[in-house]
């Protein structure tokens, strides 16, 4: 019998009577992480990792949220569940579900390269693996984070040398904090868009060490902060909000920046290829390391990736989920979601 089934509400575990990242209201929802397409409002009961909980609470308000440490098992109905680091954002988890002797794992969103901020991805042995494949094509390959960090810091310094203010756009939860950790504070101070700073505050309150930042308010005078870099949300780029900084140079950090066409569409001056999702090699390594024979692909280039996996000898199927919608339709949030 299938440990998990794919229903209109989302991924369902009949033996445990719960759903994973459901997009329609259910009684019991296990949440992989706090991004909007995974943690939705309206469920009666929530379960998430201890580190993911504060952001989920912040976003969804007063909900019945229970937490669980990574690696701890919990019995729900006839199923045993545990949460394991997914390396996507702070607190993100893969969810392992065992029923009888059969083990399935739902990856949520994940990234295999450690970023120094989120709990590093851990492969979990299983019989069946439900994996995202946002970047499931061989053109998507990421350079090591240290290399991208050096590029970004060089751009910061070069932009200042041109007499402009660098404005870097990144998704408020996850990418923004990862960038913060990459930025070299010896170049100058870091100003943050309100939406980014709000998430920073939530994460700092739970003990995450983030560099110092200054929230941009209507009173903020850029002249008081020479050499600053501005960390904005993607939607802040190119808007009137940016005008207060005078002459700017805008950059955007996303896995999609790997494609020249998308880079040009953003109409930013620079595009840094940095993603919170696994690249082609990461996806393949992660799947191999689970030892799974069956793979369900969701969220991304599913048709192509399924065929590739079948070529590699896996029993692979496409699962249409509504994560896909969120992740691909909002290029601003796309690969952070």
């Amino acid at each position: 019998m299938a440990v998990l089934t794919f229903t209109p509400e989302g991924i369902h575990c009949p033996a445990g009577g719960f759903h994973i990242d459901p997009w329609r209201p259910v009684d019991r929802a296990l949440i992989t992480h706090g991004h909007a397409d995974h943690a939705r409002p309206g469920h009666a009961h929530y379960l998430a990792t201890e580190t993911a909980a504060p952001v989920i609470r912040h976003r969804l308000g007063d909900i019945a949220l229970d937490t669980i440490p990574y690696g701890e098992t919990r019995r729900i109905g006839d199923a045993t569940v545990s949460f394991h680091p997914a390396g996507h954002v702070s607190g993100s988890a893969q969810i392992r579900v065992a029923v009888g002797g059969e083990v399935w794992v739902v990856s949520g969103d994940y990234k295999t390269e450690p970023d120094g901020l989120s709990e590093p991805f851990e492969p979990v042995k299983c019989h069946a693996f439900v994996t995202e494949c946002t970047f499931g094509l061989p053109v998507f390959k990421w350079a090591p984070q240290a290399e991208i960090a050096a590029e970004i810091n060089a751009w910061w310094a070069a932009t200042l040398a041109q007499g402009r203010t660098p404005v870097l756009g990144a998704y408020a939860l996850g990418k923004a904090q990862r960038l913060l950790a990459c930025l070299d504070p010896s170049i100058g101070p870091i100003l943050t868009h309100g939406a980014v700073e709000t998430v920073n505050e939530v994460l700092r309150a739970q003990g995450l060490a983030l560099p110092d930042t200054i929230r941009v308010t209507p009173e903020t005078d850029p002249k008081d902060h020479p050499n600053a870099l501005v960390l904005s949300t993607p939607s802040g780029l190119g808007t009137t909000w940016m005008r207060r900084f005078g002459q700017t140079s805008a950059a955007f950090a996303s896995g999609w920046m790997r494609l020249r066409g998308v880079r040009r569409r953003r109409a930013a001056d620079r595009g840094f290829v940095m993603s919170d999702h696994a690249d082609w090699d990461g996806l393949n390594a992660a799947i191999r390391d689970t030892g799974a024979e069956r793979v369900f692909v969701t969220h991304g280039y599913t048709a192509q990736f399924r065929r590739w996996l079948e070529d590699q000898g896996y029993d692979a199927q496409v699962v249409d989920t509504e994560f896909e919608g969120e992740s691909l339709d909002t290029p601003d949030a796309e690969d952070a979601a």
């Binding site: 061989p138 053109v139 066409g261 280039y301 192509q304 919608g325 796309e334």
Partner: protein, 530 residues
């Protein structure tokens, strides 16, 4: 190649014109002269020919990248650019190379002389020595599709800055029948011999579309109005006892239009005429499709010559009695042109583009509204005291096109875009009603904002009825206003017609699918304008 790749990266990383010009000017000051010459050639559309078959190149790339060919093709479909796809799937290069741009172009042009295994070895060795951005450019040169977002005008401006030569003068020097094989940087740019290239055309003066009320242009009597003809803009050059025909895209088309050779019998040497090449019979233009058949042919069969004979509709006179008269006011150039063309016999392949007389803008607006009836695209407005300028310049010339044709159609298929819009559904097929069935009649890709594309993408994902490979049939629900420039009969399409330049003008949220136009409506347009 490193310097050229750095230039390309600088150009690609900015949307600011001043930054692009600065990057190019730096390059033109620092790069070795042969590389400068090649860069000018590349940026003025003088690309080396494709020397490797694209199919074989895809096989080699997927083989070297150790992925199956089908996956390479799927990746290509998303990336939308062959050179880029190859650069992205290959493993990182293991060594470096200091060779120049000219070296790599020479290597690429050597390929046709090699046996196939040696060709592959040369390309693999290049891929292994060039980093990601160099490799992308190498592939671009290899596939013959090199294009950068730098206009000719910007390139000329940068070169003017680097050399101190006047911009219009430089623009002229860079025109004509040269290639890096026939000249050097010194001879082309620094010390040109005016006698060297008798075929050299003048840089074309191009007009912007008039967006404002024509009343804002001042008194109508300051302007020359004529029809905007839908053919190939060209220059007819008569010098040294011979003639040349250049297209606006700076392609030499002398042999494609042998009719124009007759000009040598009537038009004096030392004359250059700017005009529109049109397929023309019985005092009216043939549809653009007739001319298109001619463009495709290097030598023209007799039958086609008889079916679609061409003429030059003369707009302007740029050279007269061997002298460059571009600085002379239009009204004087035009007077000379009128006298010249009126002196030609009636069967000469050169006709005047008639001046449209008008005392008021209102009269011209009426003429414009009827332009499609005589096969024109609208009107051209040219200031009578203006010189013939270089490139696209605002102020003295305007094109005042007729309003596009429109039809309300239902979206029935959707496909993911590529390149710029790789992650969105952007390619749609539209249908009109024929009784109670929807008949597809056109595709359209452009015209919506990114926000609208995101909205429709989300909708497509949730309203897919069926998948045919990458194409999704969707619920026929959304109506779009499709704009297009022309309509022609076509046996290739189920609807029996084909549109020119279709695009989505508006998403008609206010209309239901049942309110879309019918095939009958389109057939009426075909009868009127086809």
């Amino acid at each position: 190649m490193k310097r050229f790749a750095a230039l390309f990266t600088r150009l690609d990383q900015t949307t600011r014109t001043t930054a692009k010009v600065a990057a190019l000017a730096d390059y033109f000051s620092e790069a070795p002269e042969p590389d400068r010459l090649w860069t000018i050639a590349l940026l003025s559309g003088r690309r080396p020919k494709r020397t490797v078959n694209a199919t074989i190149l895809r096989e080699w790339a997927s083989d070297t990248a150790k992925i199956p060919l089908w996956l390479f093709e799927e990746s290509y479909a998303i990336v939308g650019d062959l050179a880029e796809t190859i650069a992205l799937v290959l493993p990182p290069n293991r060594t470096e190379s200091d060779h120049s741009l000219t070296h790599w172009i020479t290597e690429i042009r050597r390929l046709p002389t090699l046996e196939e295994p040696d060709r592959r070895a040369l390309i693999d060795a290049a891929w292994d020595r060039l980093d990601a951005s160099e490799r992308f450019l190498f592939n671009k040169l290899l596939t013959g599709g090199f294009r950068v977002g730098v206009s000719r005008t910007l390139m000329t401006r940068a070169l003017a800055r680097a050399t101190g030569i006047d911009e219009p003068d430089l623009a002229l020097r860079l025109m004509g029948d040269w290639s890096p094989d026939t000249t050097t940087y010194r001879r082309l740019v620094l010390e040109p011999d005016p006698e060297e290239d008798l075929s050299r055309p003048y840089p074309f003066f191009l007009a912007y579309q008039l967006e404002d009320d024509p009343e804002d242009l001042g008194p109508v009597t300051d302007w020359l109005a004529e029809h905007k003809w839908d053919g190939i803009r060209g220059q007819l050059i008569l010098r040294g006892g011979t003639h040349h025909v250049w297209s606006r895209g700076e392609e030499l088309m002398t042999d494609r239009f042998p009719e124009l050779a007759a000009a040598r019998d009537f038009v004096p040497d030392g004359t250059v005429i700017d005009g529109e090449i049109l397929a023309w019979t019985d005092d009216a233009p043939l549809p653009f499709a007739a001319l298109q058949k001619r463009i495709g042919r290097k030598t023209v069969p007799k039958k086609l010559l008889a079916e679609a004979p061409v003429i030059l509709k003369a707009y302007d006179l740029l050279e007269w009695q061997g002298g460059d008269i571009r600085a002379t006011p239009l009204k004087d150039r035009r007077a000379l042109l009128d006298t010249l063309v009126e002196s030609l016999p009636a069967d000469a392949p050169i006709r005047l583009s008639p001046r449209l007389a008008a005392d008021t803008w209102k009269i011209l607006a009426d003429t414009r509204a009827r332009a499609r009836d005589i096969g024109a695209e609208g009107l051209m407005l040219k200031r009578l005291d203006s010189p013939y300028r270089v490139g696209r310049t605002k102020g003295d010339w305007w094109k005042w096109k007729v309003d596009p044709l429109t039809v309300d159609a239902v979206m029935i298929y959707a496909q993911q875009g590529h390149g710029r819009r790789a992650n969105l559904f952007t390619d749609f097929t539209f249908a009109v009603w024929d009784g109670d069935t929807l008949v597809p009649f056109t595709k359209a890709y452009s015209g919506l904002t990114d926000a609208e594309f995101r909205q429709i993408t989300a909708w497509v994902r949730k309203n897919t009825l069926e998948r045919y490979g990458p194409v999704r049939a969707v619920t026929p629900e959304h109506v779009f206003e499709i704009h297009f420039e022309g309509i022609q009969a076509s046996t290739r399409h189920k609807s029996g017609l084909a549109l020119r330049f279709p695009r989505m003008a508006r998403w008609r949220h206010d209309k239901k699918a049942a309110e879309a136009n019918t095939l009958g409506d389109l057939k009426q347009m075909l009868a009127a304008y086809g």
